[in-house]
């Protein structure tokens, strides 16, 4: 009797709590913005009914009472030497300001961020990206500082935004600017490479089309089964699907949803006939390569270490990777000679005359990382000025180029170039000078990736140059989809739930088809299986009902950088 009474009391308590929680959820205001400002337009400086912010100059170096700010980010391996040129410069400019860095490992970063969003008490400044939900959740939560009234203390950032209007993209519909982003360049750093030592050994020429590449790989398999014809990162099946998509000229990567430019709607490649047939081609190609032995038998599960051993051994023919990855795989400095004759290979065409695709993963308007601050931070104007420092030409140059006369110089055309002797001194020299080794600009800066690229191995530079010029000529295509639409929190959760279910089933079937456990003829059955657990049409309806943001600029409208 007593136990039954306790059970009933507990059950009643749980029901009451659940009911209260439900009421609370319904009472939560819908954060959907009523309208969205055009992110590519110049900022409306009257958005807050204040006078136009006039740059008043920096209030740094700070000479008032000492101020300490806490910055939160994840550890990217920076050890900022105290006597580095850039570190000294930063200290001079900061004055009586100290920055305490809280930098957990990358693996723990999301746990901490989610705790902050859930529980408040965020540090003075957090370094976040769009996947941390700050843009559609946190910025309407009241937790974050509005930088808009503080722009007068950020003249460098405003000067940079004049050339990069997307820097102010995240002015929300309340007229608040809650994120100061890292300003990227437009760059295409991924490329194909061929191991000419291997190809020359067996009398094979560098292929230009997919068919030629497959002939080459077949010949290699017959000549020496120990050679892995194609090897790339140990990032799992998804990266291989992406790579095959690029070869075939299909812009539908493992992200699954795509933007149908003809109909101007978002669609899912399992719902759309064209999409699903192209996706099937990609899976067929991958399965075919696996069956013919063009891939490592365990390519889906290789770890980064295992891939490094394979690449460093030289027993491979073709790879697709970030251009300077080879240097890292060989455990070398950027300017060291590669142990093998590896050459850039132009993106193979799916068939002669058909342009393949390239992944433009680095795009200036693809604002991803940035700084947010707590709404009640002490000395917000000082904080704004501190963040503005990273957008100053002086600090950005010190961070990316080092010190004039020591690491770089201006050539006859007034363009910065590395001093060869400094470049040959290796990575330690760069670290000691603070090049890519300063905390504050490491996380958000005014990027000039020509500095990075011009320090790469000559062949890596040639690869980036070649691919980028091919894109600009139109020989290689890039698919620019609109930014993800703005959704309510509920819509995002519903979409994520559907996506999670569908991706789980799809990934399992795709892995089995590629591994040969299932025949490719099961592709249609896969679609049915996915639709049985996930309403993809509802997912697309949610996506299309969101507040749209404009399509991104085309390749011709971009200012791609290359070495």
């Amino acid at each position: 009797m007593k136990k039954a009474l306790i059970f009933v009391l507990l059950l009643t308590a749980m029901l009451v709590i659940a009911a209260c929680g439900r009421n609370n959820e319904e009472a939560t205001p819908d954060p959907t913005p009523a309208a969205t400002p055009d992110p590519t337009a110049a900022p409306d400086t009257n958005a807050n009914e204040e006078s136009d912010p006039e740059p008043t100059g920096s209030i740094l170096p700070w000479t008032g009472d000492p101020i300490t700010f806490t910055f939160f980010a994840f550890d990217v391996g920076v050890n900022e030497p105290e006597d580095a040129y850039g570190a000294q410069l930063l200290r001079e400019k900061l004055g009586n300001i100290t920055i305490n860095w809280d930098v957990p490992t990358q693996a723990d970063y999301n746990t901490r961020v989610n705790l902050y969003w859930a529980g408040g008490g965020i540090p003075d400044v957090m370094w976040v990206n769009r996947s941390n939900s700050w843009d559609q959740l946190a910025q309407y939560s009241g937790m974050l500082l509005d930088f808009y009234p503080l722009l007068e203390y950020m003249p460098n950032f405003m000067a940079a935004a004049a050339d990069a209007p997307w820097a102010l993209r995240y002015i929300n519909t309340n007229g608040q600017l809650t994120n100061i982003p890292n300003l990227e360049n437009d760059a295409i750093p991924e490329a194909w490479f061929a191991n000419m030592d291997v190809l020359n050994r067996y009398g094979i020429e560098m292929p230009t089309t997919l068919a030629e590449m497959e002939e080459a790989m077949e010949a290699l398999r017959e000549a020496n089964p120990d050679i892995i014809p194609f090897q790339t990162y140990g990032w799992g099946l998804g990266y291989y699907v992406d790579t095959m998509s690029l070869i075939l000229g299909s812009p539908f990567p493992a992200a699954r949803r795509f933007f149908c430019h003809e109909n101007n709607v978002w669609d899912h490649h399992l719902l759309n006939n064209t999409g699903s047939s192209r996706y099937r081609e990609v899976i067929e190609l991958l399965a075919d390569w696996r069956e013919r032995g063009f891939l490592h038998p365990e390519f889906m599960t290789l770890s980064g270490d295992e891939v490094q051993v394979i690449m460093a051994s030289g027993n491979w023919a073709f790879t697709y990777a970030w251009a300077e990855q080879l240097t890292a795989w060989f455990n070398l400095g950027h300017r060291d000679e590669w142990p093998f004759d590896i050459q850039w290979m132009p993106n193979p065409q799916p068939e002669a005359g058909v342009a393949p695709f390239a992944n433009a993963r680095v795009m200036g308007d693809n604002v991803w990382w940035g700084f947010v601050a707590r709404h009640d931070v002490q000395h917000p104007e000082v904080l704004a000025a501190v963040i503005d420092l990273v957008y100053s030409y002086e600090i950005a140059t010190a961070f990316q180029w080092g010190q004039e006369g020591v690491s770089f110089r201006y050539n006859a055309d007034g363009i910065k170039e590395w001093i060869p002797e400094f470049l040959e001194a290796g990575q330690d020299a760069r670290n000691d000078l603070g090049i890519w080794n300063l905390m504050l600009p490491r996380y958000a800066t005014l990027r000039d990736d020509t500095a990075l690229m011009r320090g790469f191995h000559d062949e890596a530079q040639r690869a980036i140059r070649g691919v980028t010029q091919a894109v600009l000529r139109g020989d290689i295509r890039v698919d620019y989809v609109p930014f993800d639409p703005i959704l309510t929190e509920r819509e995002r959760e519903d979409a994520a739930f559907i996506r999670s279910s569908s991706n789980t089933v799809q990934d399992e079937w795709v892995a089995q088809m590629v591994a040969g456990i299932r025949p490719i003829s099961d592709f249609d059955a896969m679609i049915e299986a996915v639709l049985a657990v996930a309403n993809l049409q509802e997912y697309m309806d949610i996506w299309n009902s969101g507040e749209p943001l404009p399509t991104r600029p085309t390749s011709a409208e971009r200012n791609f950088i290359y070495p």
Binding site: D75, D305, V309
Partner: protein, 287 residues
């Protein structure tokens, strides 16, 4: 000499295989740590290749490792003292005949073994108690566990009541009885839980990750975590792969960090072995 049956040979063979399976990863890690890390093709199967101790020199040249050791030892010792003290003080009343509320406390303890508040409530409570950047977060939140109290209670219950009664008759109160009569004969359970606590605190990385901002408070597991997983290249959305590749910690350094982290605990285990073995049977037999 004891006669060996065929099944005994099978058992011995099985034990040897299992021991090899457990020992091999440790030996391999040690061998990798003592190998030359500059060769990306480093293939170590059992013995070190191109023996050198550069990885260890690199680790110990970083003076922070001693700080991490100091912090971890402090947290482990503090945790042991607090844990044993409060657990024994919580368990002892259960064996006192006249103690009212035993049943209620028993149910309360068992409930805590099955239900927990989860990460967020724990975080909020600890934060409200001022545990952010406070070394006590490594000691106090886990000071008393229901499981330990129950085992202590069972062990105390097995101690002859005559021992306690004679102490009471001599005028000893409960505290004196506990600290001067009961605990001295409870070395097995104390040693067992001391060892479990030391190992648990030594291995703890999640609480310091959550609650510590000050690098001077970090334990050695956070150092190891940084060495092992500085960067996850599988997430292509992460920033600046272009500048990150050369920062990957090589395998010998990571292996050396593992050895440095586990070495003190490996040294303690042989001395605590007999207590640990005896302690495994604690609470299983009432007699």
């Amino acid at each position: 000499m004891k006669r060996m049956y065929p099944f005994d040979y099978f058992l011995y063979a099985l034990m040897v295989l299992m021991t090899a399976a457990w020992l091999y990863p440790l030996i391999l890690t040690l061998s990798i740590s003592l190998s030359d890390g500059t060769d990306p093709l480093l293939r170590v199967t059992f013995f070190p290749v191109d023996f050198n101790i550069q990885s260890y020199l690199f680790i110990f040249q970083d003076g922070r490792i001693f700080r991490y050791y100091f912090n971890t030892i402090g947290y482990a010792l503090g945790s042991v003292v607090v844990h044993l003290l409060f657990t024994s003080m919580m368990a002892f009343p259960f064996v006192v005949k006249d103690f009212r509320g035993k049943t209620f406390l028993n149910v309360y303890l068992v409930i805590t073994m099955f239900f927990g508040g989860g990460l967020l409530p724990s975080f909020f409570i600890n934060r409200a108690l001022g545990m952010i950047d406070n070394p006590l977060v490594m000691i106090l939140p886990g000071a008393v566990s229901g499981f330990a109290v129950i085992l202590f209670r069972t062990f105390f219950g097995n101690i002859p009541t005559e021992l306690r009664e004679s102490a009471y008759m001599d005028g000893a109160g409960h505290y004196r009885t506990l600290f001067q009569i009961i605990l001295p004969v409870s070395k097995a359970v104390l040693a067992t839980f001391a060892l479990m606590n030391i190992v648990g605190t030594w291995n703890a990385w999640f609480p310091p990750m959550l609650y510590f901002r000050n690098p001077n408070l970090m334990p050695i597991q956070i150092y190891l975590r940084r060495m092992l997983i500085l960067f996850d290249f599988s997430d292509a959305q992460n920033v600046d792969l272009r500048a990150m590749h050369t920062l990957v910690t090589n395998r010998t350094l990571r292996s050396a960090a593992v050895i440095v982290t586990i070495f003190p605990v490996l040294c303690i285990y042989p001395f605590m072995q007999k207590h640990f073995t005896k302690g495994m049977m604690l609470g299983s037999v009432k007699g």
